[in-house]
Amino acid sequence: MIRRHTPRANRTILVATILLALPVLAALVSLVWTPYNPIPVNAGERMLAPGASHPLGTDSFGRDIVSLLMYGARISLTVGFVAVAIALVIGVPVGVLSGMRGGRVDQVLMRLTDVVLAFPALLLMIVFGAAFGANTTSATIALGIAAAPAFARLSRAGTLQVMSRDYITAARSANRGGLYIARRHVLPNIASLIVVQASVAFSMAVLSEAALSYLGFGAAPPTPSWGRMLQEGQAYLYNNPLLVLWPGLAIALTVLALNLLGDGLRDRFDPRRVAQR
């Protein structure tokens, strides 16, 4: 009665992938080409309405909005990707080690995790920005560090479950080393948990980067980022609300896609939850 793959889970993943394709493609294409150069100011073309030459119009500096959004996608996705990578690289080994070794190692590592967990992502980003300069690098590193404890806890919980199974005892008695067990048994089994968490962390990273840029701590000008577009557009909310609408939509779309992806993957990997949908 309980099926591993249901049409619903697959459908969610499909929708998510389609939605995510837009920002991802935009980011990738922006590496080689954008309709216009989004950096230079064109004083003569400010605040144009959407039209033939500029499908979404221009901003207060005369820059093409489509190009700005594409460039902004690059920033948001890069920050998210690298931050999640950092969090993975720090968090998973810590969690697995903690779960496998137990005892003092576990205690110490989990206490350290608690300390990091006490620093919410945005707070850490602000403090890092103040300490090391407000730019995407410090923001990404801060995000990665702030997201790591979730991965650590998750990996630890998953590892503990795996370690209690019979084939581990068998492997142990066959004198298999920790690293082998980790690679062969633990990691494949916790992979699904990590993947789901990764997409959740990614979406939180995109939101946090936008908030940070809005506060003025994020990407340095004139680099366009969706959050900065929101901050710059706020002053024109009365004259031209589109300046806020486009980046807002971009953020919402990307975060929605990532959340849906996480949901779909969660459903696909956890058969118990399937029946609830």
Binding site: A131, F132, A150, R153, S203, L215, G248, I251, A252, R273
Partner: protein, 317 residues
Amino acid sequence: MLPAFVRRAATLVATAVVASMAVFWLLSVVPGDPAQVALGLNASPDALAAQRAAMGLDQPLVLRYLDWIGGLFRGDFGVSVVSKLPVGPEILDKVQVTLTLVFCALVVALVIALPVGILSAIRARSADGVVVSAASQVGMSVPGFLVGMLLVTVFSVRLGWFPAGGWVAPSDNFLEFLRHVTLPALALGAVQAAVLTRYVRSAVLEILREDFIRTARSKGLRPLQALVVHGLRNAAVPVLTVTGVQLAAMLVGAVVIERVFVINGLGSMLLDRVGSRDMVAVQGIVMVLVLLVLVINTLVDVLYTAIDPRLRTRVSQ
């Protein structure tokens, strides 16, 4: 029970102390000379040196840390290097504002999430359930400050129903307080409502599947009655757990919302003092925020271990 509680408390304190070291070290690396800020343009090098000595900036790091942490234990947060006024009372004032805002946002979130989540779980197979699911997905994806900006533009500037910003304490004038807190609480709480709705729905669905609920229903009780009579207590725990996690997230979200609505809470104070390199104040504020998060996290952990370990992975953020 008691030894576990004492152990938890001890862990909390130990974690807080380590966190304080991290805070102090991080902020000591921050560039910008507080003496320069205090004295401003054209201050002579002698005056600057004297100012630095007065601020205690020329002592070794460890001594300054011990000085500071000792003060914290006594409740003395130090004197702001730029405003020359004690930091503690100001933090106390502002933390009340932020906590009140967060509490109101939580109320908004629960008022939306509980009925919507419960109802949509009961009607899981009908169109309602899908709509709620989709709506909550979209709601989670929009940045809170964008919601705030739009709320201000529509309800405050265009319609004039609510003030565009500012804060009135509930003890000063409750009606004015309600007027000022409505939009920011909505902005902060709406996004969290979306998140909570999903968890409420998920928890209720889970409960509805349980055997004892089926038994109750087979006895002839309607779904809502079965839920209330048998399942609510069980559903409450995972929801409470998630609420705790969201509380910590809302505390930080308040930083951005305070900027949009010009509310002088801890978040505004933090951004302001970071800009003026008022390290004493920033240390104090960060420490207070960290302590609040730690306390919330500890409470959530306690709830965690009280429930079915299966749910631990499911409700992980």
